[in-house]
């Protein structure tokens, strides 16, 4: 590496594209998203990438950085650069649109496939009283802070092998629905989560948990789904 310069390789084009190399000045407190932005502003105006909040809230900036999926706005170059070298690719397991932009439609489709929130009460009724210490609320709380970044989805090998697999984020979401006492059809959420391509396809190998930038454990949520499915079967519940 030349002093003060980063060797940056960025994927350009679609599936048949290739890497392009850039020399980007190394700066203090520089994130990977800063580097991509600098490349686009200074060298490659047509470079496509996605971001919004830049503070780790919106979940739109995930890319593959030196082989691992990461939220780029909160990933410091210092922490991930390999002797000043950065290789930046689109997220895995999603169709590529172009450059660093993957098509996240299947990811969100699977997310809604497990069910959306439909409550038992209407707006006219007083808010439900849910004890924060209850076992179910604690389980839902532990999994609720997902920012939909698809990092876990890109990290999961099973998603790569079985395209029908719902994946860690959707199943993690299902676990919050199953444990939310305000949800009208919790049983339906469990049923959808344990269908074909559901929780039973998970290998529990924890890559999702390892990479989740906000520290969630879809692995634990999926284990919870499997446990609940197992006991409901033994207790003789139909679905």
């Amino acid at each position: 590496m030349e002093a003060g310069l980063l060797d940056v390789r960025i994927w350009r084009g679609g599936d048949e594209g290739a890497f392009a190399s850039y020399r980007v000045p190394a700066r203090e407190n520089q994130t990977v998203l800063d580097v991509v932005t600098e490349v686009q502003r200074c060298f490659e105006p047509s470079l496509a990438y996605r971001f919004s909040c830049r503070v780790g809230v919106c979940g739109s900036c995930a890319m593959t950085v030196n082989g691992a999926p990461r939220w780029t706005c909160r990933t410091h170059v210092k922490r991930v650069a390999d002797d000043g070298a950065l290789t930046i690719e689109p997220l895995r397991h999603l169709p590529l649109v172009k450059d660093l932009v993957s098509d996240v439609e299947t990811f969100f489709d699977k997310w809604t496939q497990v069910g959306v929130f439909e409550g038992t009460a209407t707006r006219a009724e007083p808010p439900a009283a849910v004890a924060p210490t209850s076992r179910e609320r604690a389980a839902a709380d532990a999994a609720i802070q997902c920012i939909n970044c698809a990092v876990c989805y890109a990290a999961c090998d099973v998603v790569g092998w079985d395209h029908d697999y719902l994946g860690p984020a959707a199943l993690n979401r299902a676990w919050t629905l199953v444990n939310d006492v305000r949800v009208a059809d919790r049983h339906g959420a469990l049923e959808r989560a344990m269908g074909e391509g559901g929780c039973h396809s998970c290998h529990s190998h924890g890559a999702c948990m390892e990479h989740c930038p906000v520290g969630l454990s879809p692995t634990a949520s999926i284990a919870g789904l499997k446990r609940t499915a197992f006991w409901s079967l033994l207790k003789g519940r139909a679905a």
Binding site: W161, D164, F230
Partner: protein, 112 residues
């Protein structure tokens, strides 16, 4: 049969097989160390309802357990899905039952 049923069956047969595998391994070591000949082994097993039950249960558990695992592997590594996948799993289970029970009959049947 749903994914949940298959998962439960696979776990429960694992539970059944764990002690059976242990006894089976101990038995092998015992027979080899003791220098038992095939004829001496058959003498002990033939006509024994206990060994018939032991290995019969073993074969049935394995014939349920292994095809479910194979189905998971095939779903990930081959284009097989849905019915063809389930039929392949069933065929493999039947094969294991036939081969396994034949072996059990050969060990405990006859003689007496």
């Amino acid at each position: 049969m749903s994914e949940r049923h298959l998962y439960a069956l696979q776990r429960m047969t694992a539970l059944v097989m764990a002690p059976l595998v242990l006894v089976h391994l101990i038995l092998i070591v015992y027979a080899v160390q003791g220098g038992l000949t095939a004829a001496e082994i058959l003498e002990r097993t033939q006509g024994s309802a206990g060994w018939a039950l032991f290995y019969g249960l073993f074969v049935l558990s394995a014939a349920i357990h292994a095809p479910i695992g194979l189905r998971n592997v095939m779903r990930e590594w081959t284009p097989l899905k849905g019915r063809p996948l389930d039929l392949t799993m069933l065929a493999f289970a039947l094969l294991l039952i036939v081969l396994g029970l034949r072996a059990v009959v050969a060990v405990v049947g006859g003689g007496g």
